[in-house]
Amino acid sequence: MSLNIRKIAVNVEETHIEAGRTISPPTRKAVAVAVISNPFAGTYTEDLTPLTDIGAELGGLLGQRCVDALGITPAQAESYGKSAMVGENGELEHAAAILHPKLGAPLRAAVEKGAALVPSSKKMGSPGQVLDVPLGHKDAAYVRSHFDGIEVSLNDAPRAGEIMVAVAVTDSGRPLPRVGGLTHEEAKGEDGLR
């Protein structure tokens, strides 16, 4: 019951112009998604440990894919997020078992530090459905310029017995941030909040 990946996709979004204004350097977000077999599809299984182990593998793998796609050093990563969408023969809890117990530590290793909670979302879904991955600053959750999100979808996933697992990493906040609050430069990054 080990990790069985059918597909990996990586998207990088670069925003060069926002509201008619040039963004230089462009803000960049990467999202890496893996489509895996759900070992518990069609059953109710009490012990979900195998999924937590899969989560640990995917945290490192997908985090590294994002960092590679952005062409940055781990220290240059500024925000992150994680999400999962479970095909219809699975259960929402399967997403929780992948995302929460063990995915975070190897992801944090891939982006260096990561004092803040990794923001997350999860749902049941079908092929082609859109999954929103929330984004927050990796060291200080209250940095307001870095609250964001990125969509991911694949036309052929998740099939009924599959799970889509996504990790997103950025090297920047939103373009043209101007709603105030704690800034990236002011953040201490010690307690994960400020």
């Binding site: 926002e18 509201a19 008619g20 204004r21 109710y44 009490e46 979900l48 937590t52 999400s83 259960e91 929402l92 809890e93 929780a96 078992a97 995302l99 929460h100 117990p101 909670l117 923001p119 997350s120 979302s121 999860k122 749902k123 859109v130 999954l131 929103d132 991955v133 929330p134 984004l135 927050g136 959750a141 209250y142 307001r144 609250f147 964001d148 999100g149 990125i150 969509e151 939103r174 373009p175 043209l176 941030p177 101007r178 709603v179 105030g180 609050g181 307690d191 994960g192 909040l193």
Partner: protein, 193 residues
């Protein structure tokens, strides 16, 4: 500042009895309040947008109150989240205006809500959906309460509109068994644990 012009509200309630496993005594409920408003900054670049956050505060409170009432009182609310969809004539940054008025409205009505309100945002077309993250209101690391709610409305956001969203939940995921920090064990001091 232009007035806040409210076009439409939506209230959705999910009641989850079981998901193939043993049904708990109390079903999980998730509720979402959507407010669709005109985007006062649509179609042009405006530098100083922060005053509009003040205008959004009463709307935030109304929406939060509606959710609290729907779920039967503040004592029933254990999780929350917020989000924004910006119509195509707007800018992602307009969605960020909802952070303070949306988040603090819920925290004002809910006792022991020390946790940051999780959020997401995007620019989208008519019928766009948004997965709004949910976490425990008093300790972000409570693992059983990590959840999300997909929201949207078929005829919105039009180009010049904003969809503002608040969500609340009444408890842990159905069949939660992914371990981690339990709601019964939180200290509730730092908003995290």
């Amino acid at each position: 500042m232009p007035d806040l012009i409210l076009l439409l509200t939506v209230l959705s309630v999910y009641e989850v009895f079981h998901e193939g496993g043993p049904a708990p005594d109390t079903p999980l409920r998730r509720a979402a309040a959507l407010a669709i408003i005109q985007n006062p900054f649509a179609g042009r670049y405006v530098e100083d947008i922060q005053p509009f956050m003040e205008d959004l505060k009463p709307l935030g409170l109304q929406m939060a109150q509606r959710l609290v009432d729907t779920l039967g009182g503040p004592q029933n609310v254990q999780g929350y989240g917020k989000g924004t969809i910006v119509g195509e004539a707007g800018e992602l940054e307009h969605g960020a205006l909802w952070h303070a008025p949306g988040g603090y409205a819920m925290r004002q009505l809910l006792d022991n809500s020390n946790a940051i309100v999780p959020s997401t945002k995007k620019v989208g077309g008519v019928g766009a959906r948004l997965d709004v993250p949910i976490t425990h209101i008093n300790a972000s690391y409570v693992r059983s309460h990590f959840d999300a709610m997909e929201v949207g409305c078929n005829d919105t956001p039009r180009a010049g509109e904003l969809v503002l969203v608040l969500v609340m939940s009444t408890g842990a995921r159905i069949h939660n068994r992914a371990g981690g920090l339990d709601a019964a064990d939180i200290k509730g001091e730092d908003g995290l644990r």
